[in-house]
């Protein structure tokens, strides 16, 4: 039978509604900034300049964007199998450990072009391993993946603390960090890379990992929508009974999907450890794993959406940092609150505005329809 709620055209669903949600978030943020006695318009200017004002700022923005693409894809892939991977943070952290161990072990012996593929493999493998245990427990023991991945985040934090403080710390150092990698284990920065073509930009953390991020987007798009494995994942995600009926081994599917998710999250390690810090250190993921959830939600689990959403969050991170620097009364916590508002409106309340927009859209279509009928009649 006909139902009163109907599908909206795609451009409204993926275009207009997210835009309205972001504007709502900014509107409320503006009110908050007004309340503490600052000028919201000025704040917006600072955020935009801070994120895009010069190549140095853009470099930072894109560096954060790269992280969010990896973690957003990780969440999205799991989401297609209707698995909620909250463990991106821990998987990225452990992925970075993998990269670090590999680089520390090999950077004295082999050149960059050998280290790079091995490091990518190590980050993926370590990330996947960290996702494997919760996945196994979900598939074969029925422990809920949300709970286990959260717990694995905490385990990852403790494990890294232990390893850095007791194993990897540079002798004679106070801060729990490993020694710096040699240049053979350093991902070329974007400054170096475009320098090969004679272009000069300022040095920023932006490095060639962004290409890996874009490649991952293409891969995920092909994998989810153009392979039989992606087909099985989507079927399982939409309808578990249908997947059983089709003879899909759902337990293996859960484990496989989560491992792929872990691989993608683990790639954050390439961007941060190999591309930015060039040493293993504490807390380099800095919440990117959690932001990935919002990114995937906003990006509708589609690589193109994820790139756009990552860019938005990259802007907020970098511009927000500038904001708290330029206007001291807007502290870091306030910037976090604004980011939180964006997540709230675009993630948790993503469908809040939908009924209203649906009504408006229907009204417009119907008034057009009757107008046409009248002219026809």
């Amino acid at each position: 039978m006909s139902s009163p709620s109907k599908a909206l055209p795609a451009w409204i669903d993926v275009g207009v509604i997210p835009l309205i949600n972001i504007l709502l978030a900014f509107f409320v943020s503006g009110i908050v900034i007004l309340i503490i006695g600052e000028d919201p318009i000025e704040a917006v200017k600072i955020v935009v300049y801070g994120a895009f004002g010069n190549d140095y700022n853009i470099g930072y923005t894109l560096h954060y964007t790269t992280n969010f693409i990896f973690t957003g894809l990780a969440v999205a892939v799991a989401f297609h199998a209707s698995l909620f991977n909250i463990g991106g943070e821990g998987q990225a952290y452990i992925g970075g450990l993998g990269v670090g161990l590999l680089c520390l072990a090999l950077d004295q012996y082999v050149p960059f072009w050998i280290i790079l593929p091995l490091a990518i493999a190590a980050s993926g493998l370590f990330g996947a391993a960290w996702a494997y245990v919760p996945a196994y427990l979900q598939a074969y023991r029925g422990s809920h993946i949300v709970i286990t991945t959260i717990m694995f985040n905490f385990i990852a934090f403790s494990l890294m603390n232990y390893i850095l403080v007791n194993v990897l710390i540079e002798p004679g150092q106070m801060s729990p960090e490993s020694r710096d990698f040699l240049t053979s284990a350093q991902m070329p920065t974007m400054q170096e890379a475009v320098g090969w073509f004679g272009i000069e930009i300022e040095k920023s953390p932006l490095n060639l990992s962004i290409l890996l991020a874009l490649f991952s987007c293409t891969f995920v798009w092909l994998f989810i929508w153009h392979t039989r494995w992606g087909y099985a994942i989507r079927m399982f995600g939409f309808n578990e009974n249908a997947a059983n009926y089709s003879g899909i081994n759902t337990q293996r599917l859960v484990v496989g999907t989560m491992c792929l998710s872990g691989v993608l999250a683990g790639f954050v390690g390439i961007n941060e450890i190999m591309g930015n810090h060039n040493r293993v250190m504490l807390d380099f993921v800095a919440g990117a794993g959690f932001t990935g959830i919002a990114v995937a939600l906003m990006g509708r689990n589609h690589p193109v959406g994820i790139i756009i959403a990552s860019l938005l969050f990259g802007t907020l991170y970098q511009g927000g940092a500038e904001l708290s620097f330029e206007i001291p009364t807007i502290q870091g916590e306030m910037v976090k609150a604004i980011q939180g508002l964006v997540i709230l409106f675009c993630g948790a309340l993503a469908y809040m505005s939908r009924p209203t927009i649906e009504r408006i859209f229907t009204a417009i279509v119907e008034s057009n329809g009757t107008a046409k009928e009248q002219t026809n009649g």
């Binding site: 153009h226 087909y231 939409f238 009926y245 089709s246 229907t362």
Partner: protein, 544 residues
């Protein structure tokens, strides 16, 4: 069908001299959902104290019309008159206050509440339950007596048989002062005996002056109980008939808009070798026995029907025979392969053994509504090399396959890229059947072949099943539509509480006998009472 014609004095009031205003009159009701015109200029007149049937295919607009009457939707234009007075119905609360009650197809009951609590729910009347429950109990007993709707007020609703739960729904409506009762597909979940019971209740209600609107797609029910019948097609009211002056064939033709074949046209079966033999299948879920020592054989060139009230093990039987549920005990022989609890095969391997399976509930299992039609068309076969390159899927091959299926099985619209959810029930079912039948499996398991499917498509599906039988496949049909089982099957097995309690040859089967088997001993007393259901003594007994 077991339902016999029940007519009483109630219908004679129709032609009375000083005609009272119609209990309900709808004038030129229109309702659109976007571009879809669900109702266009629909008129309906229901005379007081009559049973008015509304019949139509799925999507004809019956439910929309009733939703407007019950206040779920508001009409875009048109008028509603209740007892001759113009009313605006904005919500179901309005509808209830105007004396309209509705019994939904899927009951709106809290299973963990007692009957009394369910009846009171939402109409408690006072913040403290104690006092209101006392008066509610009194009122409930009074209603039970007045309308011969015996039911224990303190029974736990979830423990009651379906027929009694429905009675609670009716009591709920009456408790709220309903004088006009809308019943939406009320017999879908009932055994033939329970259906007879229901019709007797409706008859009593009619004789007490309640006006009833009966929505159904079952022609024999219209013929059995209604006074007048309105036929809807594609959002419009196409005609209205005095039930005594029409026939099933005429109504079917009006519904579909062309002549339809109601009887399945088939020759005698010519059973050949055994293609599937199940021995002593038992299956327990959470300690509850779902299958109890079931054995059956399927031979080439025959259709075996499984009759039974839903929930008596049919679902589990299909799941076991298609590999969805691993066997717990017993064995299945398919050709030379034996499947035992130790040698389990998954559904994919069952397909490779040439077992096709059309699941009972296509939305739950047979398709993915969010998938495009072409994605649904390869479910279970998505690893077939025909649809795959080395790594990427060959979407073009998938699309071509789906287009061909759509052509061969008349699936409309013929658009492989359309989302599966956007096809009508009949076309969804045809797509699922096409997927399973196209590979010419030796054994085909079909659950509810025509659930939620319109008459035109039913005819098509039945024809195709028979053709497949004649081509030498063994077919197992599970259906809650007894009429369908009887007209399709060469052999009928009846299931009750996970056991096969009887086998009847398709030719000799009659609904009453099957109905008794379906209800097993529990309803035998009710059954014998049915023998003389033309007398209208209102004494009733409640099946325990």
């Amino acid at each position: 069908m077991s339902v016999e014609r029940i007519k009483t004095q109630g219908s004679e009031a129709v032609g009375g001299q000083s005609a009272p205003p119609p209990a309900i009159e709808l004038k030129a009701i229109s309702k659109s959902f976007g571009p879809v015109k669900a109702n266009q200029n629909v008129d309906l007149k229901v005379l007081p104290g009559t049973i008015h049937g509304i019949i139509g295919e799925n999507g004809a607009g019956k439910s929309t019309l009733m939703s407007i009457l019950y206040g779920f939707y508001e009409a875009d234009s048109g008028e509603i008159l209740i007892n001759g007075q113009k009313k605006k119905i904005h919500s179901s609360r309005d509808a209830i206050s105007f004396g309209i009650g509705m019994v939904h197809q899927h009951f709106m009951l809290v299973e963990t509440f007692t009957v009394l609590e369910n009846v009171m729910l939402g109409a408690e009347g006072a913040p403290l339950l104690n006092k209101s429950s006392q008066s509610a109990r009194k009122e409930l007993l009074k209603l039970s007596k007045e309308y011969s709707l015996a039911v224990d007020p303190d029974a736990m609703t979830g423990d009651l048989p379906v027929g009694l739960q429905q009675r609670v729904e009716i009591l709920k409506a009456l408790y709220r002062g309903a004088e006009i009762l809308i019943l939406d597909e009320p017999t879908g979940v009932l055994t033939p005996q329970e259906t007879d019971q229901l019709f007797k209740i409706l008859d009593i209600l009619r004789s007490r002056g309640v006006s009833i609107i009966l929505i159904t797609h079952k022609l024999q029910e219209i013929m059995a109980i209604t006074d007048r019948v309105s036929v809807m097609r594609a959002g419009t009211m196409v005609s209205e008939r005095e039930t005594s002056e029409t026939s099933k064939n005429e109504l079917a033709e009006l519904m579909v808009g062309r002549k339809v074949l109601l009887e399945v046209d088939k020759t005698d079966a010519n059973p050949g070798e055994i293609l599937l033999e199940a021995k002593n299948l038992s299956y327990k879920e959470d300690g509850v026995t779902k299958l109890d020592n079931v054995s059956l054989t399927l031979r080439a060139g025959e259709i075996v029907g499984i009759a039974g009230v839903s929930g008596n093990g049919q679902t589990e039987l299909l799941a076991a025979l298609s590999g969805i549920c691993p066997l717990q005990s017993g064995s299945i022989d398919i050709g030379s392969t034996q499947i035992t609890p130790k040698n389990h095969k998954n559904p994919k391997e069952f397909r490779e053994l040439s077992v096709g399976h059309v699941p009972e509930d296509r939305h739950r299992m047979g398709m993915v509504t969010a998938f495009t039609a072409q994605e649904t068309a390869i479910m279970g076969f998505h690893e077939d090399p025909a649809y795959n390159g080395k790594i990427l899927m060959n979407n073009k091959a998938v699309q071509e396959h789906c287009t061909r299926l759509m052509q061969d099985y008349d699936v409309r619209p013929e658009d492989p890229k359309l989302k599966s959810a956007n096809f009508s029930g009949g076309n969804q079912q045809k797509l699922v059947l096409a997927r399973e039948m196209d590979r010419r499996p030796e054994v085909l398991l079909v659950g509810q072949p025509t659930r939620g499917v319109d008459i035109g498509a039913i005819e098509f599906i039945h024809k195709n099943l028979i053709a497949m039988r004649d081509a030498g496949s063994a077919i197992l049909v599970v259906s809650v539509e007894l009429e369908e089982i009887m007209s399709l099957s060469d052999r009928i097995l009846v299931m009750f509480e996970g056991r096969i309690v009887g086998e009847v040859s398709g030719k000799e089967a009659d609904a009453r006998q099957l109905g008794l088997l379906m209800g097993n001993a529990g309803t035998q007393s009710t059954g014998s009472e049915q023998q003389n259901n033309n007398n209208t003594t209102h004494s009733e007994e409640i099946p325990a």
